[in-house]
Symmetry: C2
Subunit: 217 residues, 2 copies
């Protein structure tokens, strides 16, 4: 019975995900689902991205958290529209919540790109399609280079891997080679971006990826 219900939950979610995809296509928006552990640096990554390409791409942000408006308040300071979802105790965002948020944010104008910052969690968010064009997996060097192997589902599905907090690399035993090697075992094609959201180091390749994707879409 538990399995049956989970199937129904996923079926309902997938129907909303299809709705979202149709909505995004109709409005010419690309949507990325940003997923990583609590404290992986997802918000800082988005802040820096907005700072670097916000003049060329019209960006909107959907923030997911159990509680508080903290991340939305940070994003608001960058000047881009942001919609906060508080899930209470739920460990991931679902496509239905995203549908409401997308319609809410699109009341504020036209967008090229919407980033969804999912709940900080390496497990649950990757199981729910929200209609995104790609999942962006964010892994900070402070978490350790064994995380790809220990939490494979997200990394296998990711459309890009962001290795964040490069500024802490020299103070940890994180091996870039071990982490990216493990990533390549579960994901043959997705590009890897190693970067530091404080200084902006490593963002050139990432912003080029965003801008070139926009031209071709």
């Amino acid at each position: 019975m538990e399995i049956k219900v989970m199937e129904n939950v996923l079926k309902a979610n997938d129907a909303w995900a299809r709705e979202n995809r149709a909505f995004l296509e109709e409005h010419g928006i690309r949507m990325f689902n940003v997923i990583g552990s609590p404290g992986a640096g997802k918000t800082a990554f988005l802040e820096k991205t907005i700072g670097l390409v916000g003049d060329r791409l019209k960006i909107g942000i959907i923030e997911g958290d159990l509680a508080t408006l903290k991340d939305a308040e940070r994003i608001q300071k960058t000047g881009v529209p942001v919609y906060q979802i508080n899930t209470g105790t739920a460990c991931h965002l679902n496509a239905n919540l995203i549908n409401t948020a997308l319609k809410g944010i699109c009341g504020e104008g036209r967008f090229d790109l919407v980033f969804v910052e999912n709940i900080g969690n390496l497990v649950c968010p990757s199981g729910f399609d929200i209609g995104e064009h790609a999942k962006i997996a964010v892994l900070s060097v402070a978490e350790g280079d064994d995380k790809v192997e220990k939490y494979p589902p997200l990394f296998a599905k990711a459309g890009a891997l962001v290795v964040s907090k490069l500024d802490l690399l020299e103070y940890t035993n994180f091996s870039m080679e071990a982490a990216t090697g493990a990533f390549r075992k579960v994901n043959r094609d997705a590009p890897i971006f190693a970067l530091d959201s404080l200084s902006g180091r490593g963002f050139d390749a990432w912003t080029e990826f965003l801008l070139s994707g926009q031209e071709s879409s």
Copy 2:
């Protein structure tokens, strides 16, 4: 229907948790449920703890991960018995899995203390009672001082807070005052241990807590 099934899942879990509590009491074992984000430093914290009190307390470890035996292999090197649970895609350990693991590990002798290292996740594990005496919340300074407010359920229920990776404090903008202040708003009594599992700094208070708890139990 989804809610009804979730109630049934929790009801079944609670029955197993009661079983586990009875088993622990019968065998004179204290059990701690160690919960934190991926890469919070839970395994290193257990390795150091074993190194410091393993001669005075008989310790067993139950490791939870989606995949790999990596953590169990690390613990095995310390010489204490370890039981690895791989959950595949499940985001938390439940009391039924712990029951099997407890019986498995107790085949290897008598124990004073069993630590369960739960799946790296700040959300789901705190919702499932496994029959533990206390949940130990582990938060690394690399994750940021806003995490207590953003993920309140675990911190409200914790029997102790461990602030880990103190060696990285000077390279981050983590404010100990902000983090512990936020913790005190949701948790009035649980002790707070700030420590560094590499050097052992800050472990005195923690090991004293463990040893004094053992005497009084």
